[in-house]
């Protein structure tokens, strides 16, 4: 490469690829572990947001690898909307027990009961999580909070930093973010501010599933095809449950479905699927023609900038 090469001459000049290169999954894993270790080394009191959803399960798995053979050196934080799938809560508790972790829970229901939050007209509780989340961060003096947010999820997330500074009100200021250079992460903050850390920023949904398959990671069963009583609403299949009852005009039928995201029962829809195993899901995701949030999240359909608005207010 000592003389300028033109594109025409390129084909002959191109070096053969080294077979020793890390796979993309290994590279992403290594990057995430580096970030998790940086945050633990530089912050006083980190915590990991853990909902039992696939991204947070992968985050926790990466943390166990980062500190092996030691314990994961931080607690997990869950914001319970009060409308969670019971099997996901059960999975959460078993996971925390298995890894010997401390679980901190912020409760949307408690805030509604005390009058600090009001139920929304549409019954969706996802946007209500911000207040209990910020309250838990403040009360526990967490200065860094790990999240499983990925940049491929949404156009606002595409501009999120790996270490993202939040002000005293938990707000994200997208126009005033610190430039993030090389692999040098700047986590400095002043009293009252905290940092959100997104070690799997660069993973796609397919990366997550391929990693779950490769590492044989256990997930809540509702990520895989199962029979469930559902009804159609907003172009999605909604599970029949205590908090999501069909209207008289909505027919309840039994379908084979699975969930692509696991959030609040009041706004998370299922997709028809015959993916019974993780290998089936990898194939299904690779062939999918819809984004995961577009397919299954009513809260992201509210406006073109739904995620951006929630993030500015301090959402995950």
């Amino acid at each position: 490469m000592s003389t300028p090469i033109t594109a025409d001459a390129y084909a002959a000049d191109a070096a053969p690829l080294q077979s020793t290169r890390l796979s993309s999954l290994d590279t992403l894993e290594s990057e995430a572990i580096h970030i998790i270790r940086e945050v633990v080394a530089e912050f006083e009191k980190p915590a990991l947001l853990f909902s039992g959803g696939k991204d947070s399960v992968v985050m926790l798995h990466l943390a166990t690898k980062a500190f092996w053979p030691g314990k994961v050196p931080f607690p997990v934080l869950h914001v319970d909307t009060g409308h969670n799938f019971p099997e996901v809560l059960d999975f959460r508790d078993r996971t925390v027990e298995r890894l010997g972790l401390k679980l901190v829970v912020g409760s949307v229901q408690e805030f509604i009961d005390s009058g600090e939050l009001a139920e929304r007209a549409d019954g969706t509780r996802n946007p209500l999580q911000t207040v209990p989340l910020l309250d838990a961060i403040q009360r526990n003096k967490f200065d860094a909070v790990f999240g499983g947010g990925r940049r491929d999820e949404d156009k606002a997330r595409a501009k999120e930093r790996i270490l993202s500074l939040r002000d005293e009100f938990g707000q994200w200021d997208p126009r005033n973010q610190r430039p993030e250079l090389w692999n040098l992460y700047n986590g400095r903050h002043t009293v009252g501010q905290h940092v959100r850390a997104f070690p799997i920023s660069n993973w796609t949904e397919l990366d997550i599933w391929r990693y779950i398959e490769r590492e044989n990671i256990e997930l809540p069963g509702l990520y895989y095809a199962h029979e469930r009583e559902v009804f159609a609403r907003d172009g999605m299949w909604r599970a029949v449950g205590e908090v999501s009852q069909p209207l008289p005009t909505e027919n309840v039928i039994t379908k084979t479905v699975r969930y692509r995201t696991v959030g609040d029962m009041s706004c998370t829809g299922a997709v028809e699927s015959d993916a019974y195993t993780v290998a089936d899901v990898v194939v299904e995701v690779a062939a999918s023609t819809l984004t995961e949030r577009g397919a299954t999240r009513a809260d992201d359909r509210i406006s073109e900038a739904a995620m951006e608005d929630r993030k500015k207010d301090g959402y995950f």
Binding site: E29, A66, P69, L181
Partner: protein, 469 residues
């Protein structure tokens, strides 16, 4: 599973594992960068149906009249509300797509607002950068600036996409003239002729897709690869760096469970007694490779290097015999040294003495200007130290590539400065060490990142005078 998805399963099976390639795009106003990015995403099928529907609706609302089925591909990269309202791009956005060869991370860097800040940010992690030129306009001053920044940041592969080639009737002579201009600028900068970087020029039409994913029949005079082919075959930086001989490993933290072992590991049969006194140094290999039994030096600021051998390389329960950049591992040493975060483990005999005098090129990224005498923080590897800005020795004119006299640096300036560090650091010339030659300048008051720093040799060291701009 249907037959169709079974076929796909078979494809996935043979295609894996892919490798990761990071690239950035840079361009001037209206050179069609958003359209090019949209085209890459669209033609590599990274855009899913619901996103495409939304873009098609917006295109129709705005009365878009272009090709590509009436879809304004630039809308695919539309980001924040403020950006849509103002029709501009504010910040670097990251996009993801994959082919059966590679997974790509694309840092889409806006061209007009704070282009230096954004280009430096995007280029710092990029294996390659695609610079756009409008075929009707040719090499502009902005192009020279972009190429200067990329040369400074030692981006291994710079690809100049001469866009809107359809608007000059696919003229070979127009392309050849621009290509010659680009190579001339490259020679002036040392880009593509320094043994570190290469420079390619490709004619494209982002709007129509010529030479973006597929080679175009409308440019028969061009026999080179389409843009995506180039991106699929260029060696990535870590591929190049993992083969360097100078192993570098900044210690992030010490893994020393002292009995607090992970319950799941114990449940899986971990020998509790054997791990009672476990002690390893966790970090990410930034350069080169290491094997068990290798001689290494532990570099601690203020101390002479201590030499020992690598007793083990662990990764989450697996004992490795060797590891290379960019792997995250935990390294055990034969001698019980006191090693802490901020120390560096390096191949023995390959590191020069740590220094408290730092000569550097600074890309100034803050609205708060740099003044001589300022107290700042320098973050290098896993260590942050206080520093005093002794002097600013000049500011780079990116268009002429000459150093001008200056005693201050302002937002988007690139200049030279000398800093005195509170503790010596194992600094290395950025030209040959893209990780250990890089640092951040941080404001001690509010913690904001002020500058991207590139370590230069001390004046008087003869090395690399040619490129010491």
């Amino acid at each position: 599973m249907s037959t169709e998805t079974s076929l796909l399963a078979a494809e996935l099976e043979t295609a894996l594992p892919t490798t990761l390639f990071r690239f950035a795009t840079a361009g001037s106003v209206d050179d069609g960068k958003s359209t090019l990015v949209g085209r890459l995403l669209h033609d590599s099928k990274a855009i899913l149906a619901d996103t495409l529907d939304a873009v098609a609706r917006t295109s129709a609302d705005r009365g878009f009249g272009g090709a590509a089925g009436g879809i304004d591909l630039a809308l695919l990269t539309d980001g924040l509300r403020a950006e849509r309202e103002q029709g501009i791009t504010i910040d670097v956005a990251y996009r993801y797509f994959a082919t059966d060869q590679r997974s790509f991370i694309l840092a889409d860097c806006p061209g007009h607002v704070q282009y230096t800040k954004n280009t430096v940010t995007g280029a710092s992690t990029a294996d390659a950068v695609v610079v756009l030129i409008d075929a009707r306009k040719g090499v502009l001053e902005q192009t020279r600036r972009h190429l200067s920044v990329l040369q400074l940041l030692r981006v291994a592969h710079v690809i100049v996409a001469v866009n809107k080639i359809d608007l000059v009737d696919f003229s070979e002579s127009v392309f050849r003239d621009i290509e010659a201009d680009v190579q001339k600028v490259g020679r002036e900068l040392g880009l593509g002729s320094d043994g570190i970087t290469d420079l390619l020029v490709v004619p494209v039409s982002a709007l129509d897709g010529d030479n973006v994913v597929e080679r175009s029949a409308r440019t028969p005079w061009y026999t080179g690869p389409a843009l995506l082919e180039v991106l699929e075959t260029l060696p990535a930086a870590d591929e190049l760096e993992s083969h360097l001989e100078s192993f570098r490993f900044p210690v992030q933290l010490v893994v020393r469970p002292q009995g607090a072992l992970a319950p799941d590991a114990v449940a899986a049969g971990l020998d509790v007694e054997a791990y009672r006194d476990y002690r390893a140094y966790a970090g990410q290999i930034t350069e080169g490779s290491v094997k068990v039994g290798d001689q290494v030096s532990v570099l601690t600021p203020g101390q002479a290097p201590r030499t020992t051998t690598v007793a083990g390389i662990d990764f989450a329960g697996a004992e490795l015999t060797e590891a290379a950049a960019p792997q995250s591992v935990a390294i055990r040493l034969a001698d019980e040294f006191d090693v802490a975060r901020g120390d560096t483990i390096a191949a023995a005999g390959t590191v020069r003495e740590a220094s408290a005098d730092l000569y550097a090129a600074l890309c100034w990224l803050s609205p708060k200007p740099l003044r001589e005498g300022a107290k700042v923080l320098v973050k290098h590897g896993t260590r942050t130290v206080q520093a005093l800005v002794r002097n600013v020795s000049g500011k780079l004119d990116l268009a002429s590539f000459q150093l001008e006299a200056a005693s201050t640096l302002e937002l988007n300036d690139i200049g030279h400065a000398q800093l005195r560090l509170a503790a010596p650091l194992p600094l290395e010339n950025y030209l040959h060490h893209r990780r250990t030659g890089a640092f951040l300048v941080i404001d001690p008051l509010d913690g904001n990142t002020l500058a991207a720093g590139l370590v230069k040799d001390h004046p008087g060291d003869h090395e690399d005078e040619r490129y010491s701009i």
